[in-house]
């Protein structure tokens, strides 16, 4: 049997596959974070909580209302996105005038509230969400078995990331968004409703997190704290990619997922920390991040 670093090849490919699945979640989450940061200048600490709420929305939808996976993919991001818009309107909007760290602190508080509420209602233990019937089983590729659901997660998130990138970089709506990022006052003067644009952007970023949550529900345990340490990894991913960069967020999300998977094969003890170590190295070597521009 072929081995690399003394590990059988199928095992490595399996771990790389898992890494790529994690990388898909990182990419979706860091993309939303980057979009929000670009326009609002807010680092959304509640991103992990919204991811968790997305997964719970799917779980509750199935358990209590019989809403299947495919509808959950649509409805959960919508519901969580609406919640995000309400939060932007009620709280975040009043903080744009003060220092950006207050946005971080506010969203941290919101994350605590969301996690506390879910823990009180559902307990701390994880719930399992079934893989939808259509995506069960796996392809036999000869050298390894590829679970269909995992392939679907990678495909879906790469597609969503690509569409989002296209929307922002290549459409009229995206050009307004980018213009508002550069100079909100001027864009407002041209008759574009910037506050509405900001509210919808926050909602969209949050919806991406919730979508990641629904995609993750069948492969991880749905629990109130599932997002709380993930959000820190995603922060590191965004710092590595360079804060404002959309493409940077997507690419570094996927690549770091792969790197994490590879570390699990070579040196499992370090797999939790490898992203943070890479972040430290990148900061020493290129403080603005790999895709970021030096201000």
């Amino acid at each position: 049997m072929t081995t690399v670093f003394g590990v059988p090849l199928p095992a490595i490919l399996g771990q790389l596959m898992l890494g790529l699945v994690n990388g898909s979640f990182y990419a979706l989450l860091s993309l939303g974070l980057a979009v929000i940061f670009g326009l609002l200048g807010v680092v959304n600490f509640a991103h992990g909580a919204f991811y968790m709420l997305g997964a719970f929305a799917a779980y509750i939808g199935l358990a209590s209302f019989g809403i299947n996976y495919w509808w959950a993919l649509l409805l959960a991001p919508l519901a969580v996105g609406l919640l995000g818009m309400v939060i932007e309107r009620l709280f975040l909007r009043h903080l744009y005038q003060v220092e950006p760290v207050y946005g971080l602190l506010l969203t941290f508080g919101i994350a605590l509230i969301a996690e506390g509420v879910m823990r009180s209602l559902f307990g701390a233990s994880g719930k399992s969400y079934p893989v939808p019937p259509l995506l069960q089983g796996g392809f036999n590729l000869g050298f390894m078995v590829l679970p269909i659901y995992r392939a679907w997660v990678i495909l879906a998130s790469v597609t969503v990331c690509g569409v989002t990138w296209f929307l922002i970089e290549r459409t009229r709506l995206g050009s307004r968004l980018r213009a508002a990022t550069e100079n909100a006052k001027l864009v407002q003067a041209f008759g574009i409703n910037v506050p509405l644009l900001v509210m919808c952007t926050y909602g969209a970023g949050v919806a991406l997190a919730a979508l990641a949550g629904v995609l993750a529900a069948p492969v991880v345990q749905v629990s109130p704290l599932m997002g709380s340490s993930l959000v820190i990894v995603v922060f590191a991913v965004v710092v590595i990619g360079g804060m404002g960069s959309i493409l940077g967020a997507i690419v570094s999300g996927l690549v770091l997922g792969l790197v994490e998977g590879l570390t699990k094969v070579i040196y499992p003890e370090a797999s939790n920390i490898v992203v943070f170590v890479i972040m430290a190295v990148v900061l020493i070597w290129r403080p603005a991040g790999l895709f970021g521009k030096e201000q």
Binding site: L105, S228, V239, F276, A280
Partner: protein, 314 residues
Amino acid sequence: MRAQIITVYVALAALALIAPFLGLYPVFLMKLLCFAMFACAFNLLLGFTKMLSFGHAAYFGASAYVTGWLVTAQGWGTIAGILGGVAVALLLGLVIGAIAVRRQGIYFAMITLALAQLVFFVCLQADFTGGENGLQGIPRGSLLGVVGLGNDRTMYYFVLAVFVAVFVLIRRIVHSPFGQVLKAIRANEPRAVSLGYKVDRYKLMAFVLSASLSGLAGSLKALVLGFVTLSDVSQTSSGEVILMTLLGGSGTFLGPVIGANVVVTLQEYLSEVVGAWVSVIIGAIFVVCVMVFRRGFVGEIQRRFAQRSGSAAL
């Protein structure tokens, strides 16, 4: 005004001295002091240098673990154990600080948070920390083999003495020429650079000081309670110390002390009554603080007084 401030301090000192005789549980009082010390150390960064570190539990917790391990497994004396813990916190602060001060504001917060998470995972996986179980049965030992600290009241006065020393030290640092440079950086960093100050070096110095004093607080907490758990190095603790400082009033001397007392007392009593809802309440206080109460208790009081009679410094 000065007389009023002195009155406040004298009253608080008297209260602290007689507190164990007022029927209050000494271990709880010591816990209050440890977290007050932690918040004061944190405030040195947030309040006086305006650097929001989101990972201060790393220094607090790492020092607690190291002290606990040294005293329990290595048989070190109490003072040596504390110094060992603080030394580790200092080194961690030096390494993490050196990386983090390369970026400002929001980036600084994210970087300190991520690197603190690295420390958390190391504590989770390392052997000497006991992993998920943490360290238990840490002996308090004695002061240089002379005064036994097993007695709660003796330990209380020891912790109180260290706390007062740290409090005075922080006041001294803030009012020193070094502290004035920190204030200049807080007010306008580019100007401080243009005046020729090596801003990064000052910020790193403040960071290391803050990390070391946080470590001291963690070490004492380990000895007081006799155990260290993963929650001491977790992001939740990092968030809580921010809340304590913010709620009491960042950039004031007494603010963090009051904030720490309020938050720890709330947690202690609420967790019995409302269970998991306590984190909802803490989160709600966070939101209220950030939205309408950014000056904190002491900051608000100071503003009221300052409107009437010039400046004040509690």
